[in-house]
Amino acid sequence: MTQDFLLSLAQAITKGLLTGMVYGLMALGLSVIFGVMRVVNFAHGEMMVVGMYLAWAAFDYAGVNPLFSLPVIALLFFAMGYALQRGLIQPFINRPEHQQFLLLLAIATIVVNLCLALLGPDSRSIQLDSQFDSYELGPLVFDAVRVHAAVAAIAIATLLFLFFTRTRIGKAIRAAADNHMGALVVGLDVRRLYAITFGIGAACVGAAGALMITIIPVTPFLAAEYTLLAFVIVIVGGLGSMTGALMGGLLIGVSEAVAGLLGQPSLKSMFSFGLLIVVLLLRPQGLLGRKDSR
């Protein structure tokens, strides 16, 4: 009996780790935006849901696998994020937090209700050919869909990491994040860098949405839940820390899967919010964040 339980526990944990990678990618978008601009994207879950709907539409109308529509969705989100930052958010960069909050709340309200108005409240899902495929490793069975999503998420996160450490623009963005005044002094176009950053954050969450639709169905009502979830992940991992966001995603993914195994769905939220409170109080820089990143 214990043997069985241990096996199903291990199974749940691996499932959680795979889903957690996608959570991590979603949270990465929030973290990048906050880390650079100090703006909290209260419309993050709403953007995630839009990504899910786009991938669903591409599959439903043209039969395109979300893994292939993902690059297009990410590009589209980059452009949207860039334009959104340029047009609406830039004037609010130095405004008080409650005004930024209200601005993004308004955007979130519009976005999620546009989804509702256009597509209705029904949940939409896709059925891939690989739906019932699986990989086996010893006694463990991995759903093919989840493995593909997790691998894609890791690949995107790696690309992003390389972008921030290897390219000139990536380094410039990090410079602007570390020292806003210094970046202006050496002549960086900080406004443009901010717009690019918001674009990248949006692309991350759009890509995460395209991957998420292969795992769970989408409804407009998921949006608020995802916004909160992204906050929890990012705070737990450390706001502004890229590895922190990914680790936070894994942690939340696993806790969710284990709570599901124990048949106590409310345990999952209990755990995440309890963890959020403890981390906020005892280690506000996050489990992996730097001390000064507050």
């Binding site: 909290v40 609406l88 004037p91 405004r95 937090e97 409650h98 005004q99 909050f101 209200l102 601005l103 709340l105 308004a106 955007i107 979130a108 309200t109 519009i110 999620v112 209700n113 546009l114 989804c115 509702l116 108005a117 209705g120 409240p121 407009p220 608020a224 909160l228 906050f231 929890v232 705070i235 409310s266 939220s269 209990m270 919010f273 309890g274 959020l276 409170i277 906020l280 109080l281 005892l282 506000p284 507050r294």
Partner: protein, 323 residues
Amino acid sequence: MNVRAVAGLSILLALLLAAPLLLGGYWLSVLILVLYFAYVGQAWNIMMGFAGQLSLGHALYAGLGGYVAAGLYTHYGIGPWMGVFAAVGAAVAAGAIVGYLGFRFSLAGVYFALLTIAFGEFTRIGFDNWDWAGGSGGMFLKVERGVSDLANLRGGTVMFYYVILAMAAGAFLLCRYLLESRLGRYWLAIREDAEAAQAVGVPVLWCKMLAVTLSAALTALAGVWNAFYYNNLFPETAFAVGRSIEMTLSPIIGGLGTLFGPFVGAVVLTGLGELFTDLSDQFHVSGLKQIFYGLALLIIVMYRPAGIWPWIATRLGFEEKRK
């Protein structure tokens, strides 16, 4: 306040007192909504507008207040005028815990806001699984038609109207007094620059604690009123993040830290809400109302980021000392 402002206020109060005689049932219920949002906005404003602490978890205090008073009434027959003391006590205790932890560990801005959200969500899940409070199935108060029993807050719309009007007026007077008091000045000092305030000897932690507990106490009263007006409570809605956010809107839209801001904001937002409901009813598209509403919020925050009231006040020649 100058003469014009006093005259304007007197006329407004007279109109509000006479409103049940002048208005039909629909408009009276709209006015009730306005006063409710003005009242909770005023309560929230103490914490954010006066003391500068962003709370996005005020549903916690309203929900606790409502549940405690409603629970005492349905389970033990203890009327709301007694139950309200327990309700306020519970909310003050919760506010003290959230505030003390947040301030003691010096969480500021967004981090503090997330802490308040986390406590709200935590409590929501707790109530979902708590049988005494009805769990996720909710708690219901017995509806008695045709009764007007002020002692047990059982009655019609007019009675609830006057109760919320009294609460809104009381909160207004209290906030007016607070702003002029030593504590109010301390709050402003903390809001503008907490470190400087600390340096000149303002008891920062103590003042913030007073702000959060006072704000929680006032919000709990709104929760009690709300529970008895609607006769039902569900964890899903009573403790929802959306409920908390709703409370922040009228003071932010009206003008943060001002006395009239929450009232003006409540009038504008409730008015827009009703207007958009009528408009979208003609199209039968779900979500349309919220799209309009979001657009209105967007336009207001872009063009009047400091709120509507400070702008109106200068236009009408009223005196408004603080922004």
